[in-house]
Amino acid sequence: MALLQISEPGHTPNPHERRLAVGIDLGTTHSLVAAVRSGVAECLPDEEGHVILPSVVRYLDGGRREIGRQALRALAQDPQNTVASVKRFMGRSLADVADREHLPYQFIDKPGMLALQTAGGEKSPVEISADILATLRYRAEDTLGDDLVGAVITVPAYFDDAQRQATKDAAKLAGLNVLRLINEPTAAAIAYGLENASEGVYAIYDLGGGTFDISILRLNQGVFEVIATGGDSALGGDDYDRALAARVAEQTGVALTTASDKSAFSMAARACKESLSKQDSATFSALLGEQTITQRVARAQFEQATTALTARTITAARKALRDAKLVAADIKGVVMVGGSTRMPQIQAAVGRFFDCEPLNNLNPDEVVALGAAIQANQLAGNRPDGDLLLLDVIPLSLGLETMGGLVERIVPRNQTIPTAMAQDFTTYKDGQTALALHVVQGERDMVADCRSLARFELRGIPPMVAGAARIRVTFTVDADGLLNVSAQELLSGVQAQIDVKPSYGLDDGQIAKMLQDSFSTAQSDMRSRAIAEARLDAERLLLATQTALNADADLLAADEREAVLAVMQSVREVLGSDDPAVIEAACKALANGTESFAAMRMNRGIRQALAGKNIETI
């Protein structure tokens, strides 16, 4: 029942050029995929009509796995092999998981990131997340009827570098081309702001299953400027379940010993919590072995058991406001995101603190995915004159360890990204030829209180007296919020560089290995997928270059233009090749061959922006 599409005058899309891109909300408790179709963002349902995919994966022997609803049903009976809330483990080591004794999993302590032992073998949080992402990818491809050019994936604004990198790795593993990682509250603001044509300063209060984010944004003529962001990456709706379960266990005197008992109790707590959002009291009911535990819970009791949790969100909101140099009265509205914001005590606390009615007119479960889809559609180039511009910030300060275990801050939090900031250091010993750099993230003054992101060394500094060398360390944060650090000794020119990846994320080798290990991906599939992806990339690049030529060929001298056409031609010639490496090499040559053209176009764009302004002001 395909509907005929009618496009705006002057905007006739060539159907073959329409590029399919999706937005994915990879959530702690559930995940969604959305796409812009016929100009409207909507969440895509599975065959049974559900848009929500529970973020639960069950691993069985023989490489079998269950994902989503089916896995959720097995949660109580097979908790060890059924992984829920895996988002909490992304980019985290075992020591980071404070409540690990209460969780039913068999953890494996690994450097950088923990892993889980399941009936299907050892699984890293990245692989588990990739299984969820791949499920959504297949759903989108089936629904939309074509391959995706890419996806925008949302992460909590408060995710640090390791957690972001892990998310990007998971997407890669699921065969998704990541157009951009964007922050969940920012995505919600896009969906909300565009829907309501809002202007002014808004707060986004996002209480998800496992994370809490608060962001302060200024919306002005299509520009979404994040002014400050804060939160707590270890606080969410799951904590409310746990608090309620603990309260009932205490009241009934039940000792929860086995993993399945704990799991049954927390599922009962969740159901009870959800009922309490609609009524003043509800029955808590859990089946432990042969015995059924039931207990009547009043909403007031539940609220009392969770007061401290709610207070933590308000403290974080106060801090974000202070960072933004604003007071509660400056906030025009508060957008509520995440299913947990349905709890009446949350609505009340937010209303009290900001002194306004929270905004609930979009489904809090879907709003993040919808915003991501809108951004994905724009990034894929489907709205070349789209006026949406996202100016996001880095959530946590980045710095280096200096003498005495102190942190020297290089990039302060809430800095607009992309950004590059540098600081000069020097040697402290005569004849020192190497410098160890320890990159950390966090707001505390001591290295021990911050998150360690990476360590690397700058070697080959010519011997000099102490204090003579000038070592410039540059932190570059890209539009995904990911960090790259480089160091250079300025007198000798010696350089070192690191993508902040190996210490907490996975390197490309590990990802390649995981791809190979993946039972669902046979060797031949991998190869044909690699070829298909290389071709898709090449075609995209050719199209982009052609578009650039159509617009700005006059910037090039005749011979320069010939040279560009020649490298384009050599890409076309290898498009039919069965070797992805050949296609990639030709693409690389094209990218290199158009570098200076890209620079010239950029200069023209900037000049035009200025020229336009000058005419206006005259």
Partner: protein
């Protein structure tokens, strides 16, 4: 004004097409920043290959850097001095007039002795007044008397004031949010 081609090496004022002086209109800077980012942000080139992405990243970073410097009065003043060949050299040159240093010491003592939120708020008010005075003086030295070499001393004084007001603010935070409150860190309080 736009005759000279813009490059990544253009100075902040050229890039933002505003006169190279201390007095600036924050709203105009903000509008220009967004206008430039609309052209150069990597999101605009997400579908256009590696070369365009790399260029966009460089430009976008450069625009953010310039905006940070232009909108912040102290950074802007220091930058103007530097452009005029009178660098601040904050690390090597800390010589300040005696009366300024005495005032600094009195402030420090007042901060140490402060025992209530009101004490600190009063001190913050004094510091803010000093900041406003220093900014006005700076503007006159740079924009009216065109004496960057004299403005350098004023910029250094403002750096002292800035650092001190940061300390005062964090004391105020301690009063308003006792340090035991760990919200915002990734730790789990159970």
């Amino acid at each position: 004004m736009v005759d000279k081609p813009l490059t990544l090496a253009s100075n902040d004022f050229e890039l933002f097409a505003v006169p190279a002086r201390f007095a600036q209109d924050p709203a105009a800077l903000d509008a220009r920043w967004k206008e430039l980012q609309r052209e150069a942000h990597p999101d605009r080139f997400a579908a256009q290959g590696v070369a365009a992405q790399r260029q966009a990243m460089q430009w976008s970073v450069r625009i953010n850097e310039a905006y940070q410097r232009l909108k912040h009065p102290l950074k802007r003043a220091a930058y103007l001095c530097e452009l005029a060949g009178a660098p601040i050299n904050a690390e090597n040159n800390t010589a300040m007039p005696a009366d300024f240093l005495i005032e600094q010491m009195q402030w420090r003592e007042a901060l140490d002795d402060a025992s209530s939120e009101a004490d600190i708020a009063r001190l913050l008010e004094q510091v803010n007044q000093a900041r406003v005075g220093a900014l006005q003086h700076c503007e006159e030295l740079l924009d009216v008397r065109h004496a960057p070499d004299q403005a350098v001393g004023q910029v250094r004084a403002m750096m002292f004031i800035e650092r001190f007001s940061h300390d005062v603010e964090s004391r105020l935070d301690d009063f308003q949010n006792p340090p035991a409150d760990m919200a915002g860190t990734t730790g789990q309080a159970t």
